[in-house]
Amino acid sequence: MQQVRWHGRGGQGAVTAAKILGMAAVYEGKYAQSFPAFGTERRGAPVQAFTRIADRPIRDRSQVYNPDYIVILDPSLLRVVDVLAGLRSGGTIVLNAPVLPAGFIIPPGSHLVLFHATPLALEVLGSPIVNTIMAGALAGATSLVGLEALKRAVIDVLPEKVAEKNLYLVIRAYEQVAGAGRREVHLAVGNN
């Protein structure tokens, strides 16, 4: 089973991203769960959401403590939330940032994918909602789900009026990250 933890702020769409990824996995014939961290939702407050993906039915109802993947939609969270808590050894971090933020230490053996999603979101959507971009980046960097299933899930989850733009974003992020190849994108940042 693969477990993903999404970090965002209320209104950025972390919960929706978790759902899109899970739905894409189900469209590929796999099993999945997606759920929000069970809290009161406030715009701007730190939120978490989770996706579990497996080849057999998922029966575990407990929370996710040791994610294999951590996706951080908002780099400002690095200062307020222990975003790397519980990351499984050898896990992958996907961070919305142009460069590695100062002081952000990646656990040895883990992989980092940097994707600067905010300018792209502002350019295409006119607002800093980066959830579909980061879902595309995660999928592009891993073998969690394929692009076709992800596109289908974006269309099915999002309202019609924003689906097309998000489809463009998810494709662009996926192809950019997948095309870059793991070696170039996954900065092998050590324990400095």
Binding site: S34, F38, R59, R61, S62, Q63
Partner: protein
């Protein structure tokens, strides 16, 4: 061909309500129930569902409206949680005493105070004695399937009782997972239109909810109890027919898992059952003789089945998300009573956990199993209150 969709428990229930051809919906919003009625309202506004949606000023009014619609022989649905269910308490008895097969979803949530929006079973367990059939589900698929079965059983002429479908708030209500949504024609073949033996009809006037003297009142109450016993059988029958048509079975009343040779059996209700299945599989892989008994029907209580399954075990651990304050978990008391008089009964341990949304982990369930192996004499009342800082194992 059934559609495989990615739905949460609330959405799965809304699909079931649409498939069941519910004609009247009345509900008042409360977290974490709201999305189920929002989805239904969306179906109605888009013309996907032909139904009357009655907007009401409270949960009391919601169930009163459902009651009023039900006595005309109309299939109705409502949903609530926690404080909303408590606010319905008076109407719960009116509906069951009048033998109206209303179906209600309860997205389980703890009771204030202290205020919480998160899951436990205190809300519905507190309504144990209101004369409603209570079915606890384990996942979103079971929520959908149980809703269809609830109408089938509740509307059976030998039953005619209201049914609560209880699903853990958030853990089930807000968690998306794959759900097979059956075709309308398949559901129609399983669930015929409602035909109440007596309904409001201007051509043939009848009175519902008339006053009754002690003798007549007792007769009514005795029949209510008989209907509950009939429901035990009908739940099994409905599950068997559902399995034959749709290929999914939940045991109707209880669902044993790996119990045949189990020395220790865990007893659960609701979503934590899934986590417990993982624990059982893990322990079985290490040659541990452990089983799991899911209680699906809390009312009627399938005491004989529970007795038969648990009688072979050396120890039984009940893990529940409620407390009957001053004694123990309500389910624990019920299970103990079901085992009364057995020759060499199992030791029974009660565990209360998952309160107000507290997570129940695989490690905790494994620890409960290990504790059962120690052979400690069970204490009076609640044996263990999980997750309490510095107060564990006080008994």
């Amino acid at each position: 061909m059934a559609l495989r969709r990615f739905l949460n428990g609330n959405e799965a229930l809304a699909e079931a309500v649409k498939l069941a051809g519910v004609e009247v919906v009345a509900a008042y919003p409360i977290t974490p129930q709201s999305p189920v009625v929002e989805k239904i309202a969306e179906f109605i506004s888009k013309g996907e569902m032909e139904s009357e949606y009655i907007r009401v000023e409270s949960e009391h009014a919601a169930l009163a409206a459902c009651y009023g619609a039900a006595v005309t022989g109309t299939r109705v649905f409502t949903a609530t949680s926690s404080q909303g269910l408590a606010y319905m308490f008076e109407m719960l008895h009116y509906v069951s005493g009048s033998r109206m097969p209303v179906v209600m979803a309860v997205a389980n949530r703890g009771m204030a105070a202290p205020w919480t929006i998160w899951a436990d079973h205190q809300d519905s367990v507190s309504c144990r004695d209101t004369g409603w059939v209570q079915l606890y589900v384990e996942n979103a698929q079971e929520a959908l399937d149980t809703c269809l079965q609830a109408y089938k059983v509740g509307e059976d002429p030998q039953v005619l009782l209201p049914v609560m479908i209880c699903l853990d708030g958030y853990t089930l209500s807000h968690t998306e997972e794959p759900v097979e949504v059956p075709e309308k024609e398949e559901v129609d073949a399983f669930l015929p239109p409602l035909r109440l033996p007596v309904a409001l009809d201007v051509e043939n006037p009848v009175v519902f909810c008339a006053g009754a003297g002690p003798e007549l009142y007792t007769e009514f109450k005795y029949q209510q109890q008989q209907a509950m016993y009939a429901a035990l059988l009908k739940l099994k029958e409905a599950d068997a027919e559902f399995a034959a048509r749709f290929g999914r079975s939940y045991g109707g009343t209880v669902e044993p898992y790996q119990c045949e040779d189990a020395a220790v059996i865990l007893v659960t209700m609701g979503a934590v059952t899934g986590t417990a299945r993982e624990v059982v599989d893990g322990l079985r892989a290490c040659d541990q003789k452990v089983g799991l008994l899911k209680i699906k029907s809390f009312r009627p209580f399938p005491a004989q089945e529970i007795r038969d399954i648990l009688s072979r075990a050396g120890a039984v651990a009940i893990l529940e998300r409620d407390c009957s304050y001053g004694y123990e978990g309500a389910l624990c008391t019920e299970v103990k009573a079901a085992l009364l008089g057995l020759d060499g009964p199992p030791k029974v341990y009660g565990f209360i956990g998952g309160l107000g949304g507290h997570d129940i982990t695989r490690e905790q369930i494994t620890a409960i199993y290990r504790y059962c192996l120690e052979g400690v004499q069970p204490g009076y009342g609640t044996d263990h209150f999980l997750d309490v800082a510095g107060a564990r194992d006080e008994n």
